[in-house]
């Protein structure tokens, strides 16, 4: 008869596990990265190329100075007003002369619709605080999302995020929110 193997003493198992646990606690982080996505424009290959001319009424020019103040189309606004201003700019509910033109465009799912030709031009100073810049970007993103949500709820009764890719694509075509960032001016110094 084979001898019984003595049981392995497992009292140090807890110590080993604790050691591993503490190692992982120290070397890892728990934070989830969140952020605002942006796509930078590629550097044009031909620098002599003139930028396309855009009518004055089609541009929402946002200037941020080094004191973190906003000038939107010649009007001093606070950041909290920016969202409504942007939405009004793109919707142009009264077809006003001073707000962007609309063009008839065929969009899948929606058919022939009036699409705004509006364009946001954002310019900041070198002395602008990063926090302000992010808040402006955030407000613009919020305005864009609200416009998209509005259209998707109208069409499908669902929010933009819940749509499938084709539908999202269509909504994006319906509400194109283009943001162009100009090179900053250096009035405020570093």
């Amino acid at each position: 008869m084979a001898r019984k193997t003595p049981e392995i003493n497992s009292s140090s198992m807890a110590d080993i596990a604790f050691l591993l646990l503490i190692f992982f606690l120290v070397t890892t982080t728990m934070d989830v990265d969140t952020g605002i996505y942006k796509k930078l424009p590629a550097i044009p290959e031909d620098s002599s190329e003139t930028p396309p001319k855009v009518k004055q009424r089609n541009v929402l020019s946002i200037l941020v100075n080094r004191n973190n103040e906003l000038l939107v189309n010649g009007e001093v606004l606070s950041i909290s007003q920016l969202r409504d201003k942007t939405k009004e700019f793109f919707l142009n509910p009264t077809n006003s002369e001073s707000l962007p033109e609309k063009a008839v465009k065929n969009v899948p799912y929606f058919g022939d619709v009036m699409v705004s030709k509006g364009l946001i031009s954002l310019q900041n100073d070198r002395g602008t605080k990063y926090e302000t810049y992010i808040r402006v970007q955030d407000e613009l993103a919020a305005a864009s999302r609200e416009l998209k949500d509005e259209k998707s709820i109208q069409q499908w009764g669902k929010k933009y995020e819940e749509l499938n890719e084709d539908q999202q694509d269509a909504v994006r075509k319906y509400v194109p929110v283009q943001i162009s960032e100009a090179e900053p001016r250096n009035t405020g110094g570093k």
């Binding site: 646990l21 992982f24 990265d33 942006k38 424009p41 605080k129 990063y130």
Partner: protein, 155 residues
């Protein structure tokens, strides 16, 4: 008949610790799954700004980080108190960004190279000047996917 005998003759049995390793292992596995490895030691102080319209950064292995902020106390003697760029573990200048992006690309598989995202982790009190310079360098390096790291605003 006394229910409360003071001179208890029975000794309390020792609490069994046999399940202790199991408990600790459970904790260990939880932390292994729920956390990610710390990649660099920060040399700069960073408090990223808050925003509402945030998206979650997915595929962390395809993200390269650029940190910008005021150097920590112990580095201020050598590097001053103006916001500085940190790439990997060391301080860098704007000119280093192109080579940094190139080396980041180099270390990824060929088919994933154009999917790289750059995440800017910038302190909220930094001025835009340095960020604009970084953006220009990224454009020159044609690394166009950018993510401004922000915190979700507490509701």
């Amino acid at each position: 008949m006394s229910k409360f005998r003071k001179d208890g003759k029975k000794e309390l049995p020792a609490i069994s610790t046999a399940s202790l390793p199991d408990i600790v292992f459970m904790l260990l596995f939880f932390f292994m799954v729920a956390t990610t490895m710390r990649e660099v030691d920060l040399n700069v102080n960073i408090m990223v700004p808050e925003a509402n319209e945030v998206t979650k950064l997915e595929k962390k292995d395809l993200v390269s980080n650029i940190y910008v902020g005021v150097p920590m106390r112990k580095f201020q003697k050598n590097y001053g108190t103006l916001p500085r760029i940190q790439l990997n573990d060391q301080f860098a200048t704007v000119e280093d960004i192109q080579s940094f992006i190139a080396s980041e690309r180099e270390s990824r598989k060929e088919e994933l190279r154009n999917k790289l995202t750059t995440s800017l982790k910038v302190d909220q009190y930094t001025k835009m000047g340095i960020i604009t310079d970084i953006k220009q360098e990224l454009r020159k390096a044609s690394s166009l996917k950018l993510n401004y790291s922000t915190r979700q605003t507490a509701e």
